[in-house]
């Protein structure tokens, strides 16, 4: 538990600057720019997938729209709400860490992690349901689709599993990072450093949110 006595260490103390930099300001700018660029590359990674999906969505408009109707919109929407909420708690974490408030920082991080984990659980449940309904054309599992165009539907579900799977993978990485930062925040040794780390990982978490919103709109919302 972070103790109250360590709380109000002033943020003027910036800690040691890494040897390749001249000032802490330069170091902070560099880290932030690096993270933004990294997120740009991540966006492009998903961008290739989105581009491919949209192409097929246009070519096989009917089959895809119908297949989308077989996804669980309620669970998808619930997950969207959850993830956006975790975006809020993460943003608050950032504020609290900058205000040098260890308790609030720590517990908000825990809340973010908990909501993120819940998202994964719901996602897993959804996948399990699809597996039971034989809508999981993976590893040669049987795929029996009740609708008109089973081939196109299979293509749709292929995309569905790749997209949600890749997103879930990013979530897991994010959860791992947040877990590490939560332990660091618990100890509360170097507040300015924690504030910087929270900011950088907050960027990543926001990115995972944004990607989900796109995935959700493409897969769940563009139905008949």
């Amino acid at each position: 538990m972070p103790t109250a006595t360590k709380t109000r260490k002033p943020l003027g103390d910036q800690g040691p600057v890494a040897e390749q930099f001249e000032t802490m300001g330069q170091q902070r700018d560099a880290n932030r720019l690096g993270m933004w660029m990294f997120l740009g590359t991540e966006l492009l990674l998903f961008g290739g997938l989105f581009g491919a999906f949209v192409t097929y969505r246009v070519i096989h408009a009917e089959g895809f729209a119908e297949a989308a109707g077989h996804l669980d919109l309620t669970l998808g929407a619930l997950n969207t709400a959850l993830l956006l909420t975790s975006g809020l708690t993460m943003a608050l974490t950032e504020q609290m860490s900058r205000a040098a408030r260890p308790k609030a920082t720590f517990w908000l991080l825990v809340a973010t992690i908990a909501i993120g984990a819940l998202f994964i659980v719901i996602k897993g449940h959804e996948w399990y349901k699809e597996y039971q309904e034989q809508l999981m054309p993976v590893l040669g599992l049987p795929f029996s689709y009740p609708g008109e165009q089973p081939e196109q539907a299979e293509l749709f579900f292929n995309f569905y599993f790749v997209m949600t799977g890749l997103h879930a993978l990013h979530m897991l990485v994010g959860l791992g990072v947040l877990g590490v930062i939560a332990t660091v925040a618990w100890r509360w040794r170097n507040p300015p450093r924690i504030a910087r780390q929270v900011q950088i990982s907050g960027l990543y978490w926001a990115f995972v949110d944004v990607i989900w919103v796109i995935v959700f709109s493409l897969l769940y919302l563009s139905r008949v």
């Binding site: 390749q20 690096g34 991540e42 990674l45 290739g48 491919a52 097929y56 089959g63 293509l155 790749v162």
Partner: protein, 542 residues
């Protein structure tokens, strides 16, 4: 600048002094040492890829298939292409010379993220070794392009492992690109404004931009192939209504820009060499910068010229053809500017300058034949023939590898503190130029006459030209092996170079050779534009 006699003394403390245990290398975060790590890795891969190439050329001496079976032949050109493109040429100049020079050229102590830099090397080397092993053992036969549906549905070779490995190596590219871009944005010394950056730094900037914009798309494409082979999740499977042409679009969306990853750094190097040995400021600095950036950005609009006959719509073809013509313009501007820089310069025919001249000549031929290929009607005739093979080798090998060697010779005294044999280096440069043309010029003719690429047999009529090409490959091999010998020799016996043996401008020449651990004793202040050669003999020191 201090007096020559002082500078001739070997610096007491430098980045190579102390620390020759394995862990001082494998765990170093010094960008200069990491540059050396890359040198070691890419040289190793270059020679493996080279052996595959020699086997191909040996097979093609006779019209019949006698040395290699058809399957082995397919594996050879796949291995050659995969290694040369991904594990040699893409990291070549940026990760070796770029690593070594970028911080020094802008007056910084290191890259912005030294640990990330080390991680890039580990990721690259482990990934690449993994691929080489799987390609050797698993007999990958798809070519470096991994076209679907052959790669996903038909071939029974280790495509999954190879694609995964190339995917992993892509992360190294991305991390390096981010590192360079952040460094160039945030770590320039006082007074080093954007318009004072050496062109090599600009070229590295543009290259990094392409690396981070294009590589992720290749990553996802390879991932989709891996997923299709591993889980049976068909994204490109025609039976489901999937489209193999989509794969080609995604692949070339990366791989055409990637060909500029494989030439821009060479252009950067040549700009440094030409200015130094013409003792002249570069002609049209601004237009050079604009051209570099234009190539990087417009290079993203032309990928469809690889697919004129693959079934894309005619209108798409027309647009891609038009943009391809346009993207040749900035390259032409650069070529004119190099030539104009020579005008009224004091030209010194050193070995690096010979490499630079080779570059200009060979790159021009490669670029002009690119324009021929970008004309749709002609491409229908020469697509997938040796004409294409000759075109891209003129640029990638004649251009980029030549520039790479020129750069290595130019900065060798800085990196090692030693000079190499003048005579032998000129012999090597000449062997390269002659060997290269003998190898690849006949291939233009072969292709134009209709010899397709990627076959292990051919009609007897084509034999003479093929024999010429194979002989040339031998001469070329000598051109590549010689530097290995005399450069290694110079490490031990070369005479001390001093800080600035060529009399070059640029911050990297203002510090001792080899440089101290953090490059500069004091961070320099910049008050001059680059290439302030005053068209006269610069004082050379040492």
């Amino acid at each position: 600048m201090s007096t020559p006699s002082l500078e001739q003394r070997w610096p007491r403390d430098h980045y190579l002094s102390g620390g020759f245990r394995l862990r001082d290398w494998l765990l170093t975060t010094d960008h200069k040492r990491i540059g050396w790590l890359y040198f070691a890795s890419i040289t190793f891969f270059f020679f493996i890829g080279g052996i595959a190439a020699l086997l191909i050329r040996l097979e093609l001496i006779t019209p019949g298939g006698d040395l290699l079976s058809p399957d082995t032949y397919n594996q050879m050109f796949s291995m050659h292409g995969i290694i040369m493109v991904w594990f040699f040429l893409i990291p070549s100049i940026p990760n070796t010379l770029g690593n070594f020079l970028i911080p020094m050229m802008i007056g910084a102590r290191d890259l912005a993220f030294p640990k990330l830099n080390l991680l890039s090397w580990h990721v690259y080397t482990i990934g690449a070794l993994f691929v080489v092993l799987t390609v050797l053992l698993g007999a990958v036969d798809t070519g470096w392009t991994f076209y679907t549906p052959y790669s996903t549905l038909f071939t029974e070779t280790a495509v999954l492992a190879a694609a995964t490995g190339v995917f992993v190596v892509g992360f190294s590219s991305i991390l390096t690109g981010i590192n360079f871009m952040v460094t160039l944005h945030k770590m320039r010394a006082p007074g080093m404004s954007w318009m004072r950056l050496p062109l090599f730094a600009w070229a590295t900037y543009a290259t990094s931009l392409i690396m981070i914009l294009a590589t992720p798309v290749l990553s996802i494409t390879l991932l989709l192939i891996a997923v299709e082979r591993l889980f049976g999740i068909g994204i490109f499977d025609p039976a489901l209504g999937g489209d193999p042409i989509l794969f080609q679009h995604l692949f070339w969306f990366y791989s055409h820009p990637a060909v500029y990853i494989m030439i821009l750094p060479g252009m950067g190097v040549v700009s440094e060499l030409i200015t130094c040995f013409a003792r002249n400021s570069v002609f049209g600095y601004k237009s050079m910068v604009i051209s570099i950036m234009a190539i990087a950005l417009f290079g993203f609009l032309v990928w469809g010229h690889h697919m004129f006959v693959a079934g894309q719509s005619m209108y798409a073809g027309v647009m891609f053809s038009l943009f391809s013509f346009l993207v040749a313009l900035p390259s032409a501007i650069k070529t004119f500017n190099w030539t104009a820089t020579l005008y009224r310069g004091r030209i010194l025919l050193t070995a690096p300058m010979l490499y630079a001249f080779s570059f200009i000549g060979l790159f021009t031929i490669g670029g002009l034949t690119g324009i021929i290929l970008a004309a749709m009607a002609i491409d229908v005739h020469v697509h997938d023939t040796y004409f294409v093979v000759a075109h891209f080798h003129y640029i990638m090998v004649g251009g980029m590898v030549t520039a790479y060697l020129g750069g290595v010779h130019f900065w060798w005294p800085k990196m090692t503190g030693r000079m190499f044999s003048e005579l032998w280096s000129k012999v090597a440069a000449l062997a390269l130029f002659i060997g290269f043309n003998l190898t690849f010029f006949p291939q233009f003719i072969l292709g134009y006459l209709g010899m397709p690429r990627r076959y292990h047999e051919y009609p007897a009529d084509f034999q003479l030209l093929n024999v010429m090409s194979s002989l040339g490959a031998g001469a070329l091999a000598i051109g590549y092996l010689l530097p290995l010998v005399y450069l290694t020799w110079s490490l031990f016996r070369g005479k001390p170079a001093g800080a600035n043996p060529w009399g070059a401008t640029g911050l990297e020449w203002q510090t001792s050779s080899p440089p101290p651990k953090h490059n500069f004793v004091q961070i320099p202040r910049v008050s001059e534009p680059p290439y302030a050669y005053r068209n006269q003999d610069q004082e050379t020191t040492g």
